[in-house]
Symmetry: C2
């Protein structure tokens, strides 16, 4: 059994999930509208055909932790594969959004008839898991400035539009949303965004954020100031002194 | 298409991945031995038949962030489904461990012939993603004490042996390993473990940890002291003031 190892360079490129899912009715969601939440958990797999969707986790205190922002051709709702889907997930349309959806029983049935769909879904989920692992790494090692820089860079790569001058334009994520993604307060995000702006790393208005990815990447290439351990308090730090 | 929604209560229980994977040669790993790492990324799916495996992420500074501890009948290596497997993953045997493994090309081939294997793997990955989402929530909201309490509870549920007196016995996780999981220093873990011990939440020796899950759960049921926002510094806080 343990022979014929495929090496990464021999692997086929990712399966195209779109090629394996049948067309379904399209549903339109207005900006801000909930797609599913704890009251009414997902029982479907969703595909974004237009717009952007915010995936969140509802914390014990009722506040939201943003897990991700997805754009066109991305899939969500995979937790419906679980016998008991988590009741603390929430998804909503971040702008006017069009979705296709398939009841998970239908997807399971499709998988048995179109096995490449299974491989495509496994690849999408491995990707999502790897992304969450990078988030866990960043929470363990980075201060807020670096977490915010990584968040903006990752959003710009996935959701931005490159401009001829090397900058990338993105939708104007609110400081509140960035705070719920980075795990800090809106005030701290505003303070850091102002500093990034003063240092020429980005500019922003109500209409858009224009990011300079190379400058932000240079900031991340510099190791953070090594800090001495401090005692744990109710507001203690994540840091690199393991 | 969008009809016949399966609700959670109508869902079948989880597919048994073991029922769908053929028997492979067993490989034995001594305590501490690396299974795969960045130098030699995974190209296989692994099943633990005996022992415990630590999954880590290698941070940019070369240090390890522990992503999870897996035990018998658990599966890992799913990132091999990606065309370019992440090069910062590391897995090693936490104790003497026996594994079965299948090259991912073989698994993809099996999936096309045994579609219920695909569903089983999708469920395992949805579970892993949901677990990582809870970690991200905890990093966003909890101080170190609460993160450590959640970690110990989750390890006790998954890897512990319940005792007649209501306590749960677990292997003696080192403070260094707990620090790399919780995202803090070994010193802070030692300080918190001492406090947990003094408060009667657990006892530990070189041989084992004995945990009192109900007492730890009570600690988590109490909301953390509400803390006032503070300015962001290199060692700033995660907190709940969003």
């Amino acid at each position: 059994m343990v022979s014929g190892f495929a090496t990464p360079s021999h692997r086929l490129p990712h399966e195209d999930v779109l090629a394996h899912l049948p067309v379904s009715t399209k549903l339109e969601y207005a900006k801000g509208r909930s797609i599913y939440d704890g009251e009414c958990p997902s029982t479907c797999l969703y595909l974004i055909t237009e717009g952007k969707v915010m995936l969140s986790q509802i914390a014990e205190d009722g506040s939201e932790v943003v897990l991700g922002i997805l754009g066109p051709d991305e899939v969500f709702g995979q937790s419906a594969f679980l016998a008991v889907p988590p009741r603390n997930e929430k998804t909503s349309a971040l702008e006017k959004t069009t979705l296709m959806m398939w009841p998970i029983a239908t997807v399971e049935d499709l998988v048995t008839r179109r096995p490449r769909l299974a491989v495509a879904l496994l690849q999408i989920m491995a990707d999502r898991t790897a992304e969450f692992a990078r988030r866990i790494e960043s929470f363990s090692k980075d201060n807020v400035e670096r977490r915010l820089a990584r968040t903006l860079l990752s959003f710009s790569e996935r959701l931005g539009t490159p401009q001829p001058d090397g900058s990338v334009q993105m939708m104007p994520f609110t400081h509140g949303m960035l705070a719920r993604y980075v795990g800090t307060s809106r005030e701290v995000i505003t303070q850091n965004m102002n500093q990034f702006r003063q240092r020429g790393l980005l500019s922003y208005s109500r209409q858009r954020i224009a990011l300079h990815p190379h400058a932000l990447a240079r900031l991340l290439a510099v190791n953070p100031l090594s800090a001495s351990p401090k005692a744990d308090g109710p507001l203690e730090a994540n840091s690199a002194w393991l």
